[in-house]
Every structure is written in C-alpha cells, then in structure tokens.
Assembly symmetry: none
Homo-oligomer: 121 residues x 2
C-alpha cells in the first residue's frame, strides 16, 4: 500500500495513538483528507499485520487500534473508558513457555490481557 497507509498511521498518532476505525475515518474527513472507509479498514489491518499497531476490543465489541512499540508487553484495559496501561508479562512469559513445552507445542506465542474498571471510572 502506498498512499493511504502512511496517512492513516499519521492520523492514529495524532489521535493519541488510540482510536477505532470509524473514529480514524471521521477524523480524516473532518481534516479534509480524502479517503474511503474501506481503505481505512484495510490500512489498519495492514498496519496490524506489520505489527505497527495493536488491536483490542472495546466493551461494546468495536475494535480499537493502538500504536505499539516493538517491545513485547501486555495490556491492562479499562472496560469503561478504554484507558490502557502497558504492563510487563513477568511470570507469564515463563508460564507460557513451560505450558507449551509440556504439551509439545512449538513456535509459541501468547496473548494476555487484564481488564477491569480504572480508578477514575
């Protein structure tokens, strides 16, 4: 992808690194950028498979896209306001490795997310 992806990425950065596809689209419209909703979705998906952004789910099921550094980390997400804290995996990393080995799995990865209600909500 050539034209759209960088523009979508820039918009996501500008939005504080955290927005749904619909929101990114609306922002770009408001700023006068010419882009289709379909392309926003495709760009975001592409950015996800590039590991440039992360995708999570809000409580209502809407997907939210989030810029993410290359370091492996986990998330602590507020179900209510979407506030996200990046946290260390700590004991999990080893747990995942041991469990996988124990059952003969190779090339393993894992996801782990904690969700709840943050102090403000």
């Amino acid at each position: 992808m050539t034209r759209s992806k960088p523009r979508v990425l820039r918009t996501l950065e500008h939005a504080g690194g955290f927005a749904s596809a619909q929101e990114v689209y609306k922002i770009m419209q408001r700023e006068g950028e010419s882009i289709g909703l379909t392309t926003v979705y495709r760009s975001l998906q592409s950015l996800v498979s590039d590991k440039i952004v992360d995708v999570l789910r809000r409580d209502d099921g809407e997907a939210i896209y989030r810029l993410c550094g290359e370091a492996h980390h986990h998330h602590l997400v507020c179900k209510n306001c979407g506030k996200t804290v990046e946290i260390e995996g700590g004991a999990i990393e080893n747990w995942a490795k041991v469990m996988a080995q124990e059952h003969g799995f190779r090339d393993t990865g894992h996801i782990a997310e904690i969700f709840g209600t943050c102090s403000k909500c």
Copy 2:
C-alpha cells in the same frame, strides 16, 4: 423474567458453560426448545446483571457468555489444526491480580491464550 431465563441458563450449562448468544439460540432450536433470539439475548443480559454469568469478547468481537462459577482456565491452541488444550492459569492468576491492584483497577478479569504448533503439525 420467568420462563426463559432458567432455560437459557440450563442450556449454557449444558454447553460447557461457555457460548455466544447465537450458539445458545442454535442449541435450543436443535433441542426443540421454543424460544426467540431476542429473548436469548435478553436472558443472557439479565443473567449478566445478576452476576450469574460473565461476558467476554472473542477475537472477532462476538460476545461470549460464561458461567461465573465455572472453573477458570486458559487455552493452548494449535495455529495449524486448531487443536485446543485446556490448561491451568497457574502464576497468571496472581500476576493479574497484582498488576490490576498496582494500577488501581477494580472488578478485574483476564484472558490468556497460548498459541503455537502442536506436535502433530
């Protein structure tokens, strides 16, 4: 609610304590139970506010309902053939609690899945 809620609850139990609204509806249809999809949704929502069931989100955004009392466990999934092993959370449970507390989060839950390639693939 009177007639439907217990039937939905029973179906959810029967399904292994873990299913989406659509799945519950399909199961009940198959078993010859007469119920509307709308009512399944309403019953599940009601069970959630009764704290009898939990609601999570699948990766694709579909809501899955889980019996609260159900033993909490995690999954080890083969990316290739889909084989799934239920595993214990072990160290994770505590990690999640500590992390959440540390950041002032309340009413927390977590999801953790390990994926990889199983010995056969």
